[in-house]
């Protein structure tokens, strides 16, 4: 698979632990603080990925994943 493709199969080594850490990050925060923390995490991860095409594909994925209610 070329490196410039967003990986969408399950890849997390410890999904529950990761989710718990993520949830923990937001414990006790106001919505505003949560928004800031999420933004920081997003920027750290985006920089780690680096590849522009992959990042755009991730943005597109989120854009098309609209809630159904």
């Amino acid at each position: 698979m070329p490196e410039t493709t967003l990986q969408t199969e399950p890849r997390l080594q410890e999904p529950d632990l990761f989710y718990k850490s993520l949830a923990q990050l937001h414990a006790g925060l106001t919505p505003e603080e949560s928004l800031l923390v999420n933004s920081k995490l997003l920027l750290v991860l985006a920089n780690h990925i680096g590849d522009h095409q992959v990042l755009l594909q991730a943005i597109d994925l989120v854009k098309s994943n609209v809630s159904t209610d």
Partner: protein, 560 residues
């Protein structure tokens, strides 16, 4: 309030039309004596074309207004012979500091790359720039500067434009084969022709203040604040201009009371809070603006050519207003000249439209991106912006995301119809459609720069190890190219110091620092073809006369 600059009043003089009562037809009339119209007038007279310049006012810019002139503009002014006083008066800074709330996020040093005639930019008040552009036109036999001449009527014809002009001594009629509209965002020309100017107004209001610094040794640095204590929720910018005058831009938000905020009793406490109580200064000029992002769909309408703010306007972040207008002119005048001489077809002017609407779109993209960062619209966008700023303090990776304006650079148009695409491999260097890069050279031991040797005609740059190695037949070809109807004048850039200053009439230069061949990724024998506006239109690793001629014919849209 303004003390550091003395405004000269340029006298109204009745025009020849008014003295004789005759309608005259001029080759070119330029409307608007701002930085862009004045650049056009200078370029025209330098290329031997008479120009009539109309301006409704009789002074240079009231207030400092555009203050940042980028490298490409300086290179253009250099070609026009106007750059010396600008460089002498202008200010260059290298250290920038970014603040978020009450803390410094980071500081940077621009550390300019060596071996360019001009820096990335200078800061200079618009009134000085205009003064320096008016100077060479004053007694120029080809320049007719008409102050207090207001355009009030326009009648486009097949091969000319008919103008009605209002003056203190009444109205007169005149005609131009070509009309260059450099009459700004509120362009009368555009309105009289009923043309489009699509885009939007930003609701944000900005307070601009020029102050004269009385405290000695205030550092020559650019300071940009996001959400500072003295202007909570908004931004502020401080940088230096000539005469120890400092520009302060303060964002006021959408609902600011414009009248109230301009009062010194409101302005002074803000600035004291910004600079610190121990800094002594005097107010020089106060103004409030909000900005538009708009552009015309086409810049070319029959015999009327739109340049600068008349054609496109963006927010001030990145200094892309005056600088892009100056580049419009640089792109236009040589084309207009070849068309006026009947050498080039109308497609050449169409390429002005193609290349400069492309540049305007690029400038709009950059300024809109800066605006989104400086003035976020939603809570999510604000959180993203603040996350960048908080991370940037400790983490270098976040710093490239900080956007307080991306400085204007020359636009590259890789798909311009004037380009001849590369056939030979190049590992770098300016691509067809991009501006030629500067490099230090010497000629007969005298230092100079490559860009100072290019312009007004097509130019060839031939890279060689030693000039003696150039075959006789190639020299004969180069001489013939220089004598053609649309000449290509070649400059030879040699890796080894040449013994003479020219070879059979072709100027010889020494690539004294090795930077020319490096910046052009040029093997010995490589040949670059540049347009009269110093844009590369073709290049080869080996000179071949027929290919060079074809590329020139293509770039000049030559009439066969």
């Amino acid at each position: 309030m303004q003390r550091t600059y003395q405004y000269e009043v340029f006298p109204f003089r009745p025009s020849p039309e008014q003295r004789t009562g005759q309608v005259m037809r001029h080759p070119v009339i330029v409307v608007g004596a701002g930085p862009v119209g004045l650049t056009a007038a200078n370029d025209l007279v330098r290329q031997g074309i008479p120009v009539v310049l109309l301006d409704e006012d009789d002074k240079v810019s009231l207030g400092s207004r555009a203050i940042c002139f980028a490298k490409r503009s300086l290179e253009i002014f250099d070609r026009l012979g106007c750059v010396e006083p600008m460089r002498r008066k202008g200010i260059t800074w290298n250290v920038g500091r970014v603040f978020f709330r009450d803390q410094e996020v980071y500081r940077f040093n621009l550390l300019p790359e060596e071996g360019h005639a001009h820096p990335a930019f200078i800061n200079l008040q618009q009134y000085y720039l205009e003064e320096y552009l008016i100077q060479p036109l004053r007694d120029h036999p080809l320049a007719d500067l008409r102050w207090r001449n207001r355009l009030v009527g326009l009648e486009p014809g097949e091969d000319h434009v008919h103008l009605t002009v209002e003056t203190p001594e009444g109205v007169y009629e005149t005609e131009a084969e070509w009309l260059i509209a450099a009459d700004g965002a509120r362009s009368t020309t555009r309105k009289l022709l009923g043309l489009d100017y699509e885009g939007r107004l930003f609701q944000e209001k900005f307070l601009i203040t020029d102050v004269v610094m009385k405290t000695a040794d205030f550092p020559t640095e650019r300071w940009f604040w996001f959400d500072p204590p003295f202007n909570p929720g908004y931004s502020a910018l401080l940088h230096r201009q000539a005469d120890n005058v400092w520009r302060i831009d303060m964002q006021l938000g959408r609902h600011a009371d414009v009248e109230l905020e301009q009062r010194p009793e409101r302005v002074l406490p803000r600035i004291r809070a910004m600079l610190g109580e121990d800094i002594d200064f005097e107010l020089e000029w106060i103004s409030i603006y909000s900005f538009h992002s708009r552009r015309m769909e086409r810049f070319l309408h029959g015999r009327v050519l739109f340049v600068g703010d008349a054609a496109h306007i963006v927010s001030p972040f990145g200094a892309r207003g005056a600088n892009s207008g100056i580049q419009d002119v640089d792109n236009l005048i040589w084309k207009l000249k070849l068309v006026m001489e009947g050498k080039a077809g109308p497609e050449l002017l169409e390429s002005f439209n193609f290349e400069r609407t492309r540049a305007a779109a690029e400038n709009a993209f950059h300024t809109e991106t800066s605006t989104e960062f400086i003035s976020p619209d939603t809570p999510g966008q604000l959180a993203l912006r603040n996350a960048v700023l908080e991370l940037a303090r400790e983490h270098e990776f976040a710093r490239p995301l900080i956007n307080s304006g991306r400085l204007s650079t020359a636009t590259v148009v890789p798909d311009s119809p004037l380009n001849t695409p590369d056939r030979d491999p190049f590992t770098g260097g300016p691509i067809p459609g991009g501006p030629a890069t500067d490099a230090p050279l010497t000629r007969a031991g005298e230092p100079t720069f490559l860009l100072k040797q290019l312009g007004y005609t097509f130019n060839g740059i031939l890279f060689v190890e030693r000039p003696e190695e150039i075959p006789e037949a190639m020299l004969a070809d180069l001489q013939e190219l220089a004598a053609q109807e649309v000449p290509i004048r070649t400059r030879i850039v040699a890796a080894q110091p040449p013994a003479q200053a020219e070879l059979q009439g072709i100027p010889l230069f020494h690539d004294v620092a090795g930077l020319a061949r490096e910046r052009y990724a040029a093997q010995p024998g490589a040949f670059y073809l540049t347009r009269p506006d110093q844009v590369v239109c073709a290049r080869w690793q080996r000179f071949q006369r027929n290919l060079v001629e074809q590329a020139r014919d293509r770039a000049a849209c030559l009439v066969r």
